[in-house]
């Protein structure tokens, strides 16, 4: 595997974005929309869906055209492709979901500068065939959407006492207004990043222990240390 080009496969390229390389919780990218629009679950989901469309579309085109686009102008071409998809989403949302479009405001247009999208185009889609590029885009999009939904869900429950507009916590719950305000975005994202880092470090420690245990008990590599 060292020198030969890796044979990339659809499934692992897709699933890596969900957890192992989650764009928000692990790569810590795309934080502007992740905090700015996630004051409710539905806003997080709509933003996730809009980003999914743009990322899938741009990855498909960038990958399909990767042999035609001259290297010298590739970034400009990527930006044209991405901006076209973003404008499409902007108009489509304004026509089909006017209320959500109003809520998300300028942040739909700002998908253009979401670094996940240009990042995947440059780092992945421009170097790999269409199939795995789609897988990579799908995984990253779903990972991003999950992250936004988690942040939006937590903020809506604590900040409004509801989820998807349905009252959850009853009349006696005093909503934490700060959770729907900008600081709530930072607090929630911080708490979620901490949780993710903790879970990861725990998993790593367990793996190291398992490796050590396997070394000690030579000849019995199947020994489990959990």
């Amino acid at each position: 595997m060292a020198l030969r080009k890796k044979e990339l496969q659809f499934w692992p390229e897709m699933t890596k974005g969900l957890w192992k390389e989650n764009p928000v919780f692990i790569a810590v990218l795309g934080l502007c929309p992740a905090m700015a629009v996630t004051n409710s679950l539905i806003n997080g989901l709509v933003m996730g869906a809009a980003t999914t469309f743009v990322l899938m579309g741009s990855s498909l085109l960038v990958s399909a055209l990767r042999k035609v686009i001259p290297k010298a102008v590739r970034i400009s071409i990527f930006i044209i492709i991405i901006a076209t998809f973003v404008t499409t989403v902007d108009f489509a949302l304004a026509a089909l979901m006017p209320i959500a479009h109003k809520q998300l405001g300028a942040f739909i247009a700002l998908i253009v500068v979401n670094c996940i999208i240009l990042g995947r185009a440059e780092a992945f889609a421009s170097r790999n065939p269409v199939g795995v590029s789609i897988a990579d885009a799908l995984g990253m999009s779903v990972g991003f959407t999950i992250a936004l939904a988690m942040i939006g869900g937590v903020r809506e429950i604590l900040g409004s006492g509801s989820l998807l507009g349905v009252d959850l916590l009853g009349e006696h719950f005093e909503p934490w207004a700060i959770m729907i305000l900008p600081p709530g975005g930072f607090l929630t994202l911080g708490a979620l990043l901490m949780t993710f880092a903790w879970v990861q470090s725990k998993a790593e420690r367990r793996r190291a222990q398992a490796a050590a245990a396997a070394n000690v008990a030579e000849g019995r590599p199947e020994k489990r240390a959990a």
């Binding site: 290297k71 010298a72 071409i77 492709i81 108009f91 489509a92 109003k102 409004s160 909503p175 207004a177």
Partner: protein, 225 residues
């Protein structure tokens, strides 16, 4: 990527083709979605002036001006109010207001949109003005990002909104502390949302100052459809 250095011509050609395809796509999508976007805008405006019959809140179902059943769009051309001739959902480029009529076609007053800075972002609202009694008879916030739990009370706080049921606008509207309202041109502010309440007052004062000299008790000719 292709072999060797691409020529300048090839770079220019690539960029041009990309721009052309993108441009054509965007124009197509714009033209395709425009009718729906305009319909949404018209529906939003109609809900704001005539009330939203499907709303959960009783206040949202009520029209901005009591009895209003229909309205026409008027724009300011030069110094004159003229009927706006445009497709449904199309908005005049300049200052505009709406003339509301009841079920019998009788003129009931003006719906006037206005906006200005709030605590966090622009507050956009629309108010109903009874030109015969020279009072504001209703106010609805259309857009705002005021603090949830505090400033956003300007949207739904019953006591605050009841200020606008017969609010005199002359000489100017004056904000006072909650419970101290004693004159028809005074507004009880919301406790904890003084800045947002005062922002609404400032927006209204600025707008009435602009519009009042131009509108009379009787509708200008050509108003009714």
């Amino acid at each position: 990527m292709s072999d060797g250095e691409p020529t300048s011509l090839r770079l220019v050609a690539t960029m041009t083709i990309a721009g052309l395809i993108s441009g054509l796509t965007l124009v197509g999508i714009y033209v395709g979605t425009l009718p729906m976007i305009q319909r949404n805008r018209a529906a939003f405006l109609s809900r704001a002036i005539l009330g939203d019959s499907e709303a959960d809140d009783e206040r949202d179902r009520r029209p901005l001006l009591p009895g209003a059943e229909s309205f026409t769009t008027m724009e300011l051309r030069g110094n004159e109010l003229v009927r706006f001739e445009g497709a449904e959902g199309e908005a005049p480029a300049g200052p505009a207001l709406y003339m509301a009529y009841d079920a019998d076609g009788q003129f009931v007053g003006y719906g006037i949109p206005a906006e200005g800075p709030g605590f966090q972002d622009t507050v956009a609202l629309i108010y109903g003005f009874d030109a015969t009694r020279r009072v504001i008879v209703g106010m609805r916030v259309l857009e705002s990002r005021e603090t949830p739990g505090l400033g956003d009370k300007i949207i739904f706080d019953e006591h605050f909104l009841s200020n606008f049921e017969a609010l005199a606008v002359e000489p100017t509207i004056v904000p006072v502390k909650k419970g101290e309202r004693s004159a028809p041109n005074e507004i009880d502010c919301i406790t904890g949302a003084t800045i947002s309440s005062k922002a609404v007052v400032t927006i209204l004062n600025r707008s009435t100052e602009q519009w009042l000299p131009r509108i009379g008790a009787t509708p200008p000719a050509g108003g009714q459809s």
